[in-house]
């Protein structure tokens, strides 16, 4: 199907239509912050927005979720599984977050398909809006190859051009959305296509924060014991924020909450930056100091992930930079690794 144009003035109508079939999640401006949330009114969506404060993984892998409820009756356990199968559409997801979900898809598809993740994921459609300029002061997706224009992993991509949004469907669901709303769309012209290309080139130039990832990755092979880990981790104030906001950080823990003969098993985000993460029975800790903990995070993202999934564990969204209360900047660290 050829590309089409969605005039800016008709986005609201498209959303209105989507809301009939889906729970639509879109960026909303709240107190100056950009937060993705379920909207009931298409007008609520912010059309121009910096990237959201936290990544979109929370819609597929929430910070806290109930896996199942249990009760003990006559000495028997009864389990009630909890699955979220709502049909959801995330409108306005940025390319970096699409890349983050691709990473989580691989992770949750190991030997066992994680049922809680996949019940959500299989029912979630993604409408990605390309970035024509850096979303925030911190982001650097051009260096990680995950943006600013999306290439894969979405159902429908929208690129801002003068006439509106150039829409491009990648999946059957994406095509279906366009087909159903053809009355809102206009055929794109060659000029629009050309504009997309020039926008993409321009966008690339606008990203000033760059990292030579390849050199940094090579550097890491011999810098495991470098002083950079000590000097960087010294500033870490152990909040765990970098892992909580990260689109690819997936560590979780489970705990039970029970009272009398009933309870529930909950899964919640964990963080490798916390002391308790590596503590074993008897108090032994495999990562006893913040040096090991911080280094682990970098090696997982830029070294182990390549072996594990053939992808980088960083999508260049820059959220870890914004949230770090110790002022640690991943771009500076990587560039330093590339330099040493």
């Amino acid at each position: 199907m050829s590309k089409v144009i969605l005039p800016t003035g008709r986005v609201v109508e498209l959303l209105d239509d989507l809301m009939r079939d889906f729970e639509v999640v879109a960026p909303v401006e709240l107190g100056g912050d950009t937060i993705f949330t379920h909207i009931n009114d298409a007008e609520e969506m912010a059309l121009e927005y910096p990237n959201s404060n936290v990544s979109l993984k929370e819609f597929l892998f929430p910070q806290t979720e109930c896996l199942f409820e249990y009760s003990v009756q006559k000495g028997m356990f009864r389990l009630k599984e909890r699955r979220d199968r709502r049909r959801r559409l995330i409108f306005g997801i940025r390319p970096c977050d699409v890349a983050g979900l691709r990473y989580l898809d691989s992770l949750f598809s190991g030997d066992i398909l994680d049922p809680n993740y996949w019940s959500r994921r299989a029912n979630t459609k993604l409408v990605c809006i390309a970035c024509t300029k850096p979303c925030t002061e911190a982001c650097f997706c051009t260096s990680t190859g995950t943006g600013p224009f999306p290439e894969t992993g979405f159902d429908l991509a929208l690129t801002p051009v003068r006439a509106g949004f150039l829409a491009e469907a990648l999946t059957e669901s994406g095509r279906e959305i366009l087909k159903r709303n053809s009355q809102l769309l206009e055929l794109s012209t060659e000029a629009d296509e050309a504009e997309r290309e020039s926008q993409a080139a321009l966008a690339l130039q606008r990203f000033k924060r760059r990292v030579d990832i390849a050199r940094a990755v090579v550097g890491m092979n011999r810098l495991f014991r470098d002083s950079i880990w000590e000097s960087t981790s010294k500033k870490c104030l152990r909040c765990g924020g970098c892992t909580y906001v990260c689109p690819t950080c997936y560590c979780f823990n489970v705990f039970d909450r029970s009272r009398n003969s009933k309870g529930e098993r909950l899964r919640h985000w964990d963080s490798c930056q916390l002391i308790g993460f590596g503590r074993r029975a008897g108090g032994l800790n495999s990562r006893p100091s913040q040096i090991e903990r911080l280094r682990q995070w970098y090696y997982h993202k830029f070294s182990y992930s390549l072996d594990q999934f053939g992808m980088l564990g960083c999508v260049g969204c820059g959220r870890c930079v914004e949230t770090c209360i110790g002022n640690i900047d991943i771009v500076q660290v990587l560039n330093e690794l590339a330099r040493r």
Partner: protein, 676 residues
């Protein structure tokens, strides 16, 4: 449902965050990028603030103690019984036999109602909150020196300082989002001076770290001021035009040359000289302090000395200078602002000021009691001695948080009636006759006032569990049944009343608090709030120098009790652990009490990390694992006070600062033995 913007209920920084809600559950947290304190970040407690909310141990209906323990009751029954018993106590022993403990964890509106309840419905000034235990010495000291008992400057301004002097504050663990500002200042070239007996995380960044002996702050500060005056580094123009009583200070600090100060503090004289010179070198030198300064029998003296140092170098009334007492609880500032204090009405108006009293009597339509009331620590003494017969405790856990726990437990057990209102069955609630289930921060509307005087909104994200109610709803139920009707349809209405009678809050109302709040003084509807105090003149006119001499701690080490015990907080736990110990992530970070001791002491005691030791003071004894570390000096140990099973406050000394009545939590004498 949209995420709800609210204020974090842990420390005094007051970061705003969004609560992510699914159904009736808070399932996650999002930091606020534009909030002036959070700036897109949170500490580990903030990130996991939702975890305790849905703990199944939450109190969900009123409980009444019977012969066979607690049993469920209706609100009507529980309130009826409480009112009957409170009335009995008043009838039999008079209103001053009743004492109310308000809470730095509750909102301004709730604290306001609690003090109004005590003063109007009971008829006593016996109302206090745990500010007594953390910063009462700040209020007394700074009011004396400057005329206002609060943080002089704003948190943001720390970034612009050239010298940051941190005294008795483990900022990275206790106020991480303030520590972030210190790190930023250092990155911009600021120098960090540190006075702390322990090798805390901040020491990695310190230009000079004075590891002074616990409780010798006055000697250190006098030593620094001695050098500053001797070398003529003080701000003569500022001293001349803005302050008074300089001569008395000069004469006193003359007696503390660096060598003398070094002898007392254990800090080398050269370091004292270096600190003095660095501090006096800039007019953007700021002082941050916390419990290490205030929780001493010399707490007020310590605060006065800090005020002296700031005035001497002209570092008050300017941007990025001043004094920042870092408040522990998210609303310890507000609880005091709205008058949950035995000698002060809302807005620090004196109970002894007949004009203030007359004004409030007119507004509230009752005769107010004359006599200033009892402080927290005095309430416990009075309960023990039978002078206080009934107590109403809202959202506090004195059994763990007050010094000499076993004495507190005995005091509360001695009461004829104890009413406790809380979100969990705390160690204190277990002693109650009636327990009322309260709503937590996520379940109610209100305001908190942070350490920089910023009044911020608390917003309801979910309904309270079971039959629990917000404290602001419970207090009017009790008061009305007591015969003093209170009718409020919302906390916003309560704030309007606060504003009417509290000059520093006069311009504050909910419609103006959208966004990120207002910093008091905010004296009328058009007042924009105040970023820093004492700009052209001090609140009291001229700043007052107070000459203070060093006095040793109340309980020095002795041959029988050779160690000095310091108590304090850890990053991932908060106070008595009522909330953090029910948060799986936070509890896992620091699941048990560890006694920090120096390797040399460990060798002589034949103790290794992980082994159990017994720590004993003149008041009691606890058992906990040792943590051998050079973070702590010889002959000193550190015990966090979060753990009921090894409660540090079994050991601490209830000796009080004479003016502020703050207990000396920060140092007492103990002995240590290995447990086999």
């Amino acid at each position: 449902m949209k995420p709800i913007l609210t204020t974090c209920p842990y420390c005094g920084v007051g970061c705003n965050l969004y609560l992510r809600v699914t159904g009736k559950r808070v399932v996650g947290v999002i930091p606020s990028r534009f909030h002036p304190l959070a700036k897109g970040g949170l500490c580990v407690k903030g990130w996991n603030v939702h975890e305790f909310i849905h703990d199944p141990a939450r109190l969900v209906h009123p409980l009444i103690r019977g012969k066979a323990g607690f049993s469920k009751a209706s609100w009507r029954m529980a309130i009826g019984l409480a009112v009957e018993r409170l009335r009995d106590a008043i009838a039999k022993y008079g209103p001053d036999a009743v004492a109310c403990l308000s809470s730095s964890k509750c909102t301004n509106e709730e604290n306001f109602l609690m003090q109004k309840f005590a003063r109007c419905a009971i008829g006593t000034n016996n109302v206090d909150n745990c500010a007594r235990l953390c910063h009462s010495s700040t209020i007394v000291g700074l009011i004396k020196a400057f005329g206002e008992g609060a943080m002089t400057n704003s948190i943001e301004e720390i970034e612009g300082a050239r010298v940051v002097f941190v005294v008795g504050s483990n900022t990275t663990e206790e106020h991480p989002l303030i520590a972030r500002r210190i790190l930023t200042a250092i990155e911009k070239g600021a120098k960090l001076l540190l006075a702390d007996p322990r090798g805390i995380e901040l020491s990695r960044f310190a230009t000079v770290h004075a590891r002074l002996r616990p409780g010798t702050d006055v000697a250190l500060l006098n030593g620094m001021m001695n050098v500053i005056i001797a070398e003529g580094l003080h701000d003569k123009a500022f001293v001349e035009t803005r302050t008074e009583n300089f001569e008395a200070l000069r004469r006193t600090v003359e007696r503390y040359p660096p060598e003398v100060s070094a002898e007392i503090t254990g800090v080398p004289a050269a370091k004292i000289v270096a600190m003095a010179r660095i501090f006096a070198s800039s007019r953007r030198s700021t002082i941050l302090y916390a419990m290490g300064v205030t929780q001493h029998t010399t707490g007020v003296d310590n605060v006065l000395s800090i005020a002296n140092l700031a005035m001497l170098t002209g570092n008050v009334g300017r941007k990025s200078s001043g004094i920042s007492p870092l408040r522990g609880h998210q609303n310890v500032q507000g609880a005091c602002d709205v008058g949950a204090l035995p000698n002060l009405y809302p807005g620090y108006q004196l109970v002894s000021d007949s004009e203030a009293k007359a004004k409030l009597e007119w507004v509230w339509g009752v005769r107010l009691p004359e006599k200033p009331g009892l402080t927290v620590t005095e309430m416990m003494d009075a309960a023990l001695e039978g002078r206080v017969k009934a107590m109403y405790i809202m959202g506090e856990n004195p059994v763990l948080s007050d010094p000499n726990s076993s004495r507190v437990e005995k005091a509360l057990s001695n009461l004829e009636f104890l009413l406790v209102q809380d979100i969990f069955m705390t160690e204190t609630a277990k002693l109650a006759h009636v327990i009322l289930p309260a709503a937590c921060f996520a379940e109610k509307e209100g305001t908190f006032t942070n350490t920089e005087r910023r009044v911020q909104r608390v917003r309801k994200a979910i309904p309270p569990p079971g039959r629990a109610k917000a404290d602001w709803e419970i207090l009017p139920l009790l008061s009305t049944r007591m015969g003093y009707p209170m009718r409020y349809t919302s906390p916003s209405e309560i704030m309007d009343e606060v504003a009417r009678i509290t000059p520093i809050y006069a311009g504050i109302s909910y419609d103006r608090l959208e966004g990120f709040g207002l910093q008091w003084p905010c004296t009328d509807r058009d007042h924009p709030g105040t970023r820093f105090l004492h700009r052209r003149r001090f609140s009291r006119g001229r700043g007052l120098f107070n000459a203070v001499d060093y006095a040793p701690p109340a309980e020095p080490a002795s041959p029988q009790f050779p160690f000095a015990l310091i108590t304090g907080r850890l990053l991932s736990q908060f106070h008595t652990g009522t909330m953090t110990r029910r948060s799986p992530t936070l509890e896992r970070e620091a699941p048990e009490c560890q006694v920090e001791m120096n390797p040399k002491d460990a060798i002589s005691l034949n103790v290794r990390t992980g082994q159990f030791v017994r720590v004993t003071s003149r008041r009691g004894s606890i058992r906990a694992r040792a943590l051998v570390t050079d973070v702590i000096d010889e002959k000193t140990i550190f015990v966090p006070f979060h753990y009921a099973e090894a409660a540090a406050n079994i050991l601490t000394n209830p000796a009080l600062d004479p003016a502020s009545k703050i207990p000396e939590y920060k140092v007492c004498a103990v002995k240590i033995e290995r447990c086999d």
